[in-house]
Structure formats: C-alpha cells, structure tokens
C-alpha cells in the first residue's frame, strides 16, 4: 500500500469512529449577539416545548405586506424560572419582540424580551442564558 493509500484508509477509519450525535444548536452559530432587532405583530402560534419554544407571528410592514416571522425562545425549562408559562402568549396577542437576528438573514430571531400590549412577559435575557 502506498503512503497516500494508508492515509486514506486511516481517515476512513477515523471517520467511522467519530460520528457524533448532537442536538440543541449553538446560539453563536445561528444568531448575531452583537445586534438586536425589534419586531411587532400578531401572534399566530406559541409552542412551549424543549429544546426551544417558538413564537410565530405576522408582522405587517409599512407597505402593508405581511411577513411571517418566527422567534426562538430559550428552553422552556429555563423560561419557567423566568415567569413564563405555556399560556404566556396566545394566538391573536399583539406582541413586541426584541431579539438577536439570525446570521443567515432569515426572518428568525432569538428572544431577548417580549411585551404584550406594553406589558412585559417574564424576564428579559442576556446573551448566553439558554
């Protein structure tokens, strides 16, 4: 076997060894922690399950166009300790969300704080609190 062939076989063996199973994505990989974006709209659904909750909302732009946004929350196990619950948001609520924007430009935020009709929902987050 040539030296190159040995390297190829070794690499294949190592690849077989090192196939990991992963979950729960990284904050910094998906979101830009240096910027905050604010959106306002009508809640269409609210999921309160781990690994992350999600808020879906319709955001109407100045031109009247409706954009579908999603906001990812921290894990609900953590949200529960910050006075959030499954019923904190309901479809039809008018919500304002401050969050960290997706790095890829999608209409996707990571929740920093939320208010419904001007009232804060739970406690706000800082970077790194999952």
């Amino acid at each position: 076997m040539t030296g190159r062939g040995k390297v190829a076989v070794l690499a294949a063996g190592m690849a077989a060894l090192a196939l990991p199973a992963m979950a729960h994505h990284s904050f910094a990989v998906f979101f830009d922690e240096t910027r905050t974006v604010s959106i306002e709209g009508e809640v269409t659904s609210f999921r309160f399950t781990n690994p992350h909750g999600t808020i879906a909302l319709d955001v109407t732009s100045a031109s009247g166009e409706v954009e579908k946004w999603r906001v990812e929350t921290t894990a609900p196990v953590v949200l529960q300790r910050r006075r959030w619950s499954r019923s904190s948001l309901r479809a039809g609520d008018h919500v304002r969300i401050d969050g960290w924007p997706a790095r890829d430009g999608k209409p996707y935020l990571r929740l920093r704080s939320a208010t419904v009709d001007g009232r804060p929902v739970g406690q706000a987050f800082t970077v790194g609190e999952d």
């Binding site: 190592m14 729960h24 990284s26 904050f27 690994p51 790194g128």
Partner: protein, 245 residues
Amino acid sequence: MRKLLIALAFVASPVAAQDHPDLSGFWAPDFGPVERPQELMDKLPDDVGMVEDTGVEEFPRGEFGELVLTPFAEDQAIEWYPETEMSIARVCLPPGIVYSLQGPFPFEIHQFDDVIVIRYEYFDQTRLVFMDGREHPGEGYPHSKMGFSTGRWEGEELIVETTHLAASTITNNGLNHTDGIVMRERYRLSDDGEQLMATQWFRDREVIENDGARFISWSKREGEHVYPYECDPSFALEYQGIGAE
C-alpha cells in the same frame, strides 16, 4: 446489644460523610464573570488549551478557543453545516457530558459515601460517579453520553475521571470528539459553600493535538429542583418552516 450496634451504625454514617465537603444540592450556572481560584487553575497542565465558551454564548462557526485541531477534525468542522442538525431525527439527540457540562442548565447532586448521583436538567440525563474504589471497565463496556465515572477526594476537592464516552460534540459548532476521549473534572466549593467551581480537562488525540480545559462555576439555590426536559423534536419543523409560508 444488636439494637445498640444498629443505632450506632446509623449515627456513624453521617459523621463519616462529613469528612468530605458536601456538594449536595441544586446548582445553577453562573453567567457573569467569576473569580477563578488560583489553586484550582494551577492544577491544570501547563500546556492545556482553554475553551472559554462557558457562561456566555457558545463559539460561532470556526472558533475553538485554544484547542489545536487535528487535520481530521479541521476537515470535519469545515464540512459541518448547522442546518443539518435541525432535523426531526437529530434535534432531540442528547449531547455528551464533555459539552453539556458547560451548558446553561442546572443540576442536582445527591452525595453518598459510595456513589454520587448527578441529575442534569439538560435532556433529563443522570450520571453516577462511583466512589467505592472500583476500576474503570475494559474495552468491551458500552460507551454512552455520560460515560463511566469514578471519583475520589483529594483534600477538599472531588476528582472525577470519566471514560467510555460515546462520540459527541465538544463545542457544538462542528468539533466533535471520538469515543476515545477521556475527561477529568476537579470540583471544589467556595469558602462559604454557596458556589461550586470546577475545571474540566479532556484529551482526545484523534481530534485535538493539545489537551482541552474549561473553568465552570455554579451557584447553590436552596429549595429548587430540576425540571423535566422532555425534548420535542417538532421544533425542527418550526425551523424548517421559516420563510417557507
């Protein structure tokens, strides 16, 4: 006489347990800066590569702290795309303890003389640290996300050695360890007992050319307990639906 011996045995057990610090309780991660005890940091090897992804946001793509990746690991990290993790099949797979130890979730410690039970909120995982002097098992023993851990006291510090870990992530951004990784944790309490601090050292020559380490700390919260995690994979569908409506 027999009744007296039984009574003495029950009285004696707690006294024996008090020979070591009591780490029992609910511990929540510290998010702010924490002063690192020099005597703890000094026990890490000199040439260790620190991984400062604890308590703040994790590393973005392509950042691995002071870890020196092997060519094999570098290739893996380059070929890793985070979107592939956001699938029904993968989003609820629990990560291994090498990564999740630094995660922003609390845990409970239940300490006994022969075993320490650590119940992690993150993915409902439980870990046993055998304190009875047993050896680590041989090669045929199954690997798992929590691995096989033994512990010993060294003065006021608890040393935990872990082997038989299943391959998983190190930094959650494309750097993964193999099932050959070994990990050593060194825990100690703050003087007032309200803070638990640890160094986590690990070695896996297949993916990192130096040894890695983290410093992690948690604060005690009386009366709290871990919640059930019960991961729901339909989160992946929410992610996949972004911009598709």
